[in-house]
């Protein structure tokens, strides 16, 4: 089955070009040129992944991202023309999983899309524990006691990666490679922002984390 990808971009030439590339790689693109209609198109087309331009007429890309995230865990990859820290971080904080800075190569875009669409079906039944958190890997469930915690697939992957090797300290680069699928050095802010988002969901007190610990100067590790 072809994965359906919603491309939200107001630049028609670029959207068309992205469509050509995606089709070439066996995806099924759906287009939307206006931020205000993005949510409707999203609801009607039920895509497997959203490619979202940050600068949109009508509703802002960040707002669209927030709306989609509020009702779905579907992976969102931002297309951004601004590489300023504040814009990227704002986009990631509004719920995007990854971003591709313009101008990008087709292969880069496809790699990002594939990484986010990685099939999670090969997971063996496995139960992991960090601190007082229980993770059912196959069932994609995270809970503290009886309380279920809802995570996006990316956050789930991040938590699982840390929980599988609680003795290991993960550098940001290693996490980028394992969770995001980057083979070369990428923007470590991705890790920072998502660790913060993850903490805000699973920690009792995100200011004093017990589940995802920071190892100063190196990276992160699972709490005991």
């Amino acid at each position: 089955m072809k994965a359906r990808i919603l491309v939200v971009d107001d630049d028609e030439a670029l959207a068309e070009m992205i469509g050509i590339v995606l089709r070439n790689d066996g995806f099924e693109p759906v287009f939307c040129a206006d931020g205000g209609q993005a949510l409707d198109v999203f609801r009607s087309s039920k895509p497997d992944l959203v490619l979202l331009d940050l600068m949109l007429p009508g509703t802002d890309g960040i707002e669209v991202c927030r709306q989609i995230r509020s009702e779905s865990d579907v992976p969102i990859v931002m297309l951004t023309a601004k590489s300023d820290t504040s814009d990227v971080v704002r986009g990631l904080e509004s719920g995007a999983d990854d971003y591709v800075p313009k101008p990008f190569k087709p292969a880069e875009l496809v790699a990002r899309v594939r990484a986010r669409l990685r099939p999670g079906d090969q997971k063996a039944p496995e139960t992991l524990r960090i601190a007082d958190i229980t993770i059912d890997v196959a069932g994609h469930l995270v809970s503290r006691g009886d309380e279920r915690i809802s995570l996006t697939p990316l956050e789930f992957d991040l938590l699982v990666a840390l929980a599988r090797k609680p003795w290991q300290v993960f550098t940001r680069e290693l996490l980028l490679e394992q969770v995001w699928g980057y083979r070369h050095a990428a923007d470590t802010r991705l890790v920072n922002v998502h660790v913060q988002r993850l903490r805000s969901k699973i920690e009792r007190d995100p200011e004093a984390p017990e589940v995802v610990m920071t190892v100063r100067g190196v990276g992160y590790k699972a709490g005991s």
Binding site: M17, F104, K105, A185
Partner: protein
């Protein structure tokens, strides 16, 4: 006191002015010698005792003064300091003080002259009167004596006394005093009944010896001298006029003494009035000077205060303008200047904002179509094997040039972000050795392409410092790729070391290297060592400029060393803590493997860019000596390697201005 010298003054002019009378000889200071002459004469022992006592007194006084000064010295110093400060900083204080000092000195000169003139005139008047009165009185006395019948002692005594008492004048106030003394050593038989006599218990000692000598030596002339004589408990100034009188064949000296006390009192009063008037005048002049300078200075200090506020950024600050005088003109032109300044600054601020927005807009507007073009080019490029040769080549060119265009645009936007001052440091504690490993991993394909080996030398294992890893990554990637590109397939050594407050990374290649002149320009925008090579190797020419800006943002140093044929060495030094300062880089800029062989081969160039201080640690040599050695070294290098003749010469020519610009070279 000034009065003392006045009545006593005996100028040559006075001397010639007196008719019929002469001053007592030309012996100097007749009136000064009498007091001490008797006291000190011929008594060396007493003199020594007195000297010792004086010494003791002086020492005691000295000690007292010293302890006093010690005790109040801080206060005095503070006072002096504040006065000096006031003098330096206040134009008004300086003007008033100068005016006062000048007024006091000129008033002292005028006052002294006036007082002297008045005293002289008073004295001359008194003297003239004294001389004529004396002449008359002496004549009376002589006439009486000549006509006297010398019979018995008592009548003679009575006669003499009566005659002399008559000289004193009538009335309650004694007009003149007399001293009547028989001349000593007379050979003729003498009248022994009358030896000496004086009015009012005076003695002959009040008459200056010079005057006596003059009177004794002379014939019938009259002499005068200034003197002092006791009246009651006080000493009064006076004029003594001496004559000889003969009584019954015996010669007597008759001195008449005139009291100058009234004249002295008059003089004192005049002087008091003068000084009081002077003091009042000086006070008034001081007040006037203060008032006038305040009027002139206060607008100036107002202007100073306003311009300080302007300089501090309060651009709306203006001067108050009143009237149409020079000060008002100053105020008006100052305000005009401030207004145009404010306009300019506001305009500049707006321009800067516009520039930032422009950069941001261009960034977005250019990137979106560029993305489309790039993707299209890549699709064409991927399908190039299906094209005929012309289209295939076109697709390749399109692809490569779009790539180049994109990196150039990215670098330009980055540089303009630095220029607009919007670049922010996003620092976090990170291990730089790990970062270097990642960069080396990323550069591995390029190294393979050039056939170079990269070696990391990091004895410390890991060095954690606060840095923006995205920027440091960019700097190191740039340095390592540059080294590979110019390394001619030879090994590239990367070293890391740290000290208490800094970490240094050096990237050393053994390739074609660069001359010091080239090393000086390597951080310039769009500068290329070899213009012909640029097109084949690509790159925007902005990489090292961006690296410099990134380093500056970290408050670090980025420096280059190079030598033609030996290779080059780039050193990045960063403070361990954000906002820290570097005192010394842990690694030398001149690589250790260069050795200290022929001096002609060695040419280190230390670069400090922008706000970072130009560090001198790597090659601390006497710069003056180095300058001389430099020329010699170049000559020997040119002689030693004729194959490279042209290059050192060119480097030397281009290097001269570089030395001044970039610091030290040896």
């Amino acid at each position: 006191m000034g009065s003392g010298s006045g009545p006593r003054g005996n100028s040559p002019a006075e001397e010639s002015a007196r008719d019929g009378s002469r001053k007592p000889g030309s012996r100097p200071g007749p009136e000064h010698t009498d007091a001490f002459g008797a006291g000190l004469a011929g008594l060396p022992l007493q003199a020594r005792i007195w000297r010792r006592r004086a010494l003791i007194v002086v020492l005691r006084v000295g000690r007292l003064v010293r302890t006093g000064v010690d005790r109040i010295f801080p206060g005095i110093r503070y006072l002096l300091h504040s006065l000096r400060r006031r003098w330096r900083r206040s134009l008004q204080f300086r003007t008033v003080l100068t005016t006062l000092l000048l007024c006091i000195s000129s008033f002292a000169i005028v006052g002294a002259y006036l007082s002297n003139q008045i005293a002289n005139n008073l004295f001359h008047e008194q003297l003239t009167q004294a001389e004529s009165e004396t002449r008359y009185n002496v004549k009376q006395v002589q006439d009486t004596f000549d006509g006297a019948q010398v019979t018995d002692q008592s009548s003679v005594i009575t006669l003499v006394y009566d005659t002399l008492n008559a000289v004193e004048g009538k009335g309650s106030v004694i007009q003149r005093r007399y001293v009547f003394e028989a001349m000593p050593e007379q050979t003729k038989p003498r009248n022994r009944w009358v030896e000496s006599r004086a009015s009012d218990q005076l003695t002959i000692s009040v008459i200056p010896p010079d005057l006596r000598a003059a009177v004794q030596d002379s014939g019938k002339e009259q002499f005068w001298a200034s003197t002092e004589f006791p009246v009651g408990t006080e000493d009064r100034p006076g004029i003594a006029v001496g004559n000889k009188v003969t009584f019954n064949g015996t010669v007597y000296e008759l001195y008449l003494i005139y009291d100058l006390n009234t004249a002295q009192q008059t003089l004192n009063e005049i002087q008091n009035v003068l000084w009081a008037g002077g003091a009042a005048l000086i006070l008034m002049i001081g007040a006037i000077a203060w008032y006038v300078t305040r009027n002139v200075v206060s607008p100036v200090s107002h202007a100073a205060a306003v311009s300080e506020k302007l300089a501090a950024g309060q651009l709306q600050e203006r001067m108050v303008v009143k009237g149409e005088d020079e000060v008002a003109r100053l105020g008006a032109s100052f305000n005009h200047m401030a207004a145009s300044l404010q306009e300019q600054i506001t305009q500049l601020a707006t321009l800067s904002q516009m520039q930032q927005r422009f950069v941001s807009d261009v960034s977005h507007e250019l990137r979106t179509p560029l993305t489309t073009v790039r993707m299209a080019a890549e699709v064409l490029y991927d399908a190039r094997n299906d094209f005929d040769p012309i289209n295939k080549r076109s697709a390749e060119l399109l692809y490569n040039q779009v790539e180049r265009f994109q990196s150039l645009l990215a670098d330009l936007l980055e540089i303009s972000r630095f220029d607009a001052g919007v670049a922010m440091l996003d620092a976090e504690a990170t291990d730089i050795v790990q970062l270097i490993s990642h960069v080396m991993e990323g550069a591995a394909p390029v190294a393979e392409e050039y056939g170079s080996k990269m070696k990391l030398n990091a004895p410390e294992g890991s060095v954690v410092l606060e840095m923006d890893s995205r920027r440091i990554d960019r700097i190191l990637r740039n340095l390592i790729l540059n080294a590979l590109e110019h390394g001619e397939g030879r090994a590239v050594n990367i070293s890391v070391a740290s000290n208490a407050d800094a970490v240094a990374v050096t990237v050393r290649d053994h390739g074609i290297g660069m001359s010091p002149a080239e090393a000086a320009r390597v951080f310039d925008r769009f500068w290329r060592a070899d213009p012909a090579r640029a097109r084949t190797t690509g790159g925007s020419g902005l990489g090292l400029s961006i690296a410099t800006e990134d380093t500056k943002l970290h408050n670090g140093w980025l420096q280059a060393w190079g030598n033609t044929g030996v290779g080059s060495n780039f050193r990045l030094t960063l403070p361990l803590k954000q906002g820290g300062t570097i005192t010394k880089s842990p690694l030398p800029l001149e690589p250790a493997d260069v050795g200290l062989g022929r001096p002609g081969d060695r040419s280190v160039l230390v670069l400090g860019r922008g706000a970072t201080p130009a560090p001198m640690d790597s090659a601390p040599k006497d710069s003056a000596a180095a300058g001389n050695a430099d020329a010699v070294a170049r000559d020997s290098a040119a002689g030693a390697s004729p194959a490279k003749n042209a290059e050192p010469a060119a480097a030397a020519a281009a290097g001269t201005p570089e030395t001044a610009r970039t610091g030290e070279r040896s």
